[in-house]
Symmetry: C2
Subunit: 399 residues, 2 copies
């Protein structure tokens, strides 16, 4: 993409933002509380989980983001503050109050998120001490600590920053995310925070974010489960030396490209770090009569435990892919089906089984292309395989 470059750094790469990550003691000697602070009140937008079980912080964010502005984000990991009733909601409000107090901003300018075990109350003394401490440590070099503090079973931090140029001046979009298990459409157990120094009104920001999320976080799946706490939030500080971005302008197009790029990269990092996953899998279903048909077939394949365990075992069990596709749609006809794995034709048309090398699944990146032969619409879904480690990680008690 023209003039779009990845640059070093994370959530503080965009101008006007500081961050901090601290250890509150909720998680044993790990970073578990992060704050992101915008120098001035920023435009803000967010997209939330569609699970009917929504954690307390989600409710607080919906309230606080009604006016489309925010000055800070506070996030803890270890306990998700979901299924916690009135007390949980009170605690989520206490988090934004305390953060507002420490940072000298209004309570309703604070976004809050929690991730971790369901059904446990937050230890508010630890949380409040952590907010106090993090507020004093805010700087532009603590992005990695902040990115660590939002992780749960993730094995690596997920950060990215990109720069683009508008009329000779730099525009930055940067972000961090946490993922792992329970990743499915609508962003189950996934948090991502994105910052930008663009100057843009909040309606346009919301629209751009929604489109970016649909093309990134909503296209990934680890195990088909949806979570209770997911959100993607973006803050726009307006501190880049560029004019206000308006709908339809070339500046808007560049900003959109940058936001999509950041969202897609973070989403793919989440899949690559899926619980126990050993392979990154892209499933593209083409030849569909509609987008819904393509997506349903792609998800059916992506979420099939039989397909996922076969890929873990590097066993080209294409019959399972055919069976998963066939269970997705009534119009499906095996006679028309084609399956290509990592560039090699495997099956079809007319139920023809090609001879193919048995080691096509030995690499880390697996591309499965399925053609339904029913139309010309296609859709992609990203996922990972199912390993022994997936079972091991999830057999533990998290609630």
């Amino acid at each position: 993409m023209e003039n779009l470059n990845e640059v070093s750094g994370g959530i503080t790469a965009a101008r006007g933002f500081k961050a901090a990550g601290v250890k509150t003691g909720i998680k044993n000697n790990s970073f578990d509380l992060a704050i992101i602070k915008s120098q001035k009140k920023a435009k803000a937008a967010a997209v939330y989980t569609t699970n009917q079980v929504q954690a307390a912080p989600i409710e607080v964010c919906r309230n606080n983001l009604e006016d489309g502005t925010a000055s800070a984000v506070v996030v803890n990991s270890g306990i998700s503050n979901a299924c916690t009733g009135k007390q949980g909601l009170e605690n989520a409000y206490k988090m934004v109050e305390k953060t507002g107090e420490e940072l000298g901003v209004n309570t309703d300018e604070v976004i809050v998120a929690s991730t971790g075990i369901i059904g446990k109350q937050l230890p508010m003394e630890k949380i409040e001490a952590g907010i106090e401490s993090a507020s004093k440590k805010l700087d532009r070099n603590s992005d990695e600590k902040a990115a660590k503090a939002i992780l749960t079973t993730d094995t690596t931090t997920k950060q990215i920053a990109v720069k683009t140029e508008i009329e000779g001046e730099a525009l930055t979009v940067s972000g961090m995310a946490k993922g792992s298990g329970m990743i499915e459409p609508d962003m189950a157990t996934m948090l991502s925070f994105i910052t930008t120094d663009a100057d843009i009104n909040n309606q346009l920001l919301q629209k751009t974010l929604k489109a970016a999320v649909d093309n990134s976080f909503n296209k990934i799946t680890v195990d088909g489960d949806q979570s209770t706490n997911d959100m993607v939030a973006v803050l726009a500080s307006g501190q880049a030396d560029i004019p206000k971005i308006t709908a339809g302008s070339s500046a808007y197009e560049k900003f959109t490209q940058a936001l999509h790029y950041v969202a897609e990269k973070l989403a793919k990092m989440i899949v690559k770090d899926g619980e126990g996953g050993t392979k990154f899998i892209e499933i593209e279903v083409g030849g569909a009569a509609s987008l819904g048909q393509a997506e349903k077939a792609a998800r059916q394949i992506a979420n099939s435990p039989l397909v996922k365990t076969a890929i873990f075992g590097e066993s080209p069990s294409w019959g399972r892919i055919a069976a998963a596709a066939g269970s997705a749609d009534d119009e499906f006809d095996l006679e028309d089906l084609k399956i290509v794995i990592n560039g090699e034709e495997i099956f079809g048309p007319e139920e023809y089984v090609h001879s193919f090398s048995k080691d096509i699944l030995t690499r880390d990146r697996i591309d499965i292309v399925v053609d339904l032969g029913l139309g010309d619409v296609s859709e992609k879904i990203w996922t990972c395989d199912f390993s022994y480690e997936y079972v091991e990680i999830n057999a533990k008690y998290y609630s």
Copy 2:
């Protein structure tokens, strides 16, 4: 149930049936071909997979069962004859021709089924030699060999026979099944054959079978995947010393009870022997506004890899059950949700987390009762957990 007793034996317990199981060499030195033979032409009915990918034998059965009669069943394991095109269909027809020839019955009186690897052609020489050999070995004592010959990754044979009494005379229903992975609604990769000595017309037999399958095989799930070869077939020899069974009679009620009992027992055996499964799980969702709502929530919980791995780890992660239920339906309200595991109240109402013993999942049978608080309809689903062994079994190359 009144006068309904389990008796020893399997598929040949009903009067008028013989069976055989032989080794053709498709599977290394294992029984892999079975024949069931009715002394006279029997009334017959069957229910098939709803996957759009249907194996060749299914097509042959649909044809041969159009007239509602059959005299024999031939089944092989090891290769499923699915995704095999014209050649596969020819081979399926060859199987019924050869069987008819050997047994001296018409080709269209033979039911055929195959289970195993997808996409490979059957070695017809071995199959035909097996049919010849099995035809000569038919007797009333080979039910266990026949039950073995239809297995794939199953670890045990699945057989049952029950007797009931009608006007002082015995009526028998007996059956065998194979299951393991890919078990989901509509009987994915599952075969079951049921025999009875009842005298009943084929329409009534079809109706009774359909109801029995809906309440048994269609309520089990191992991994949410649907298969290409599933069928449940019943043959009624009419050789019991009882009058013809007519709709609405008390004899019909007793026959129905017996058939349901056999189907439910076989279905539960399949779940108990689910690939790598260590626990039998019953999920009952009550308080639903409709049957569809109850079933959807129950399946969402039953098919959640996070719930299944937690149960494997004996971790009472009830939050995952709540999240799975919450992702199933828009009307869901966490405030109304109640979760009971093995008789202990765990969660709700009003998001209250009860104190409960941490060892509630240590036993082999797990009962999860979820109340949605939206109505008074309930539905049950049976499943098993996800273990390391599930991954190990399915990481192998089966296609």
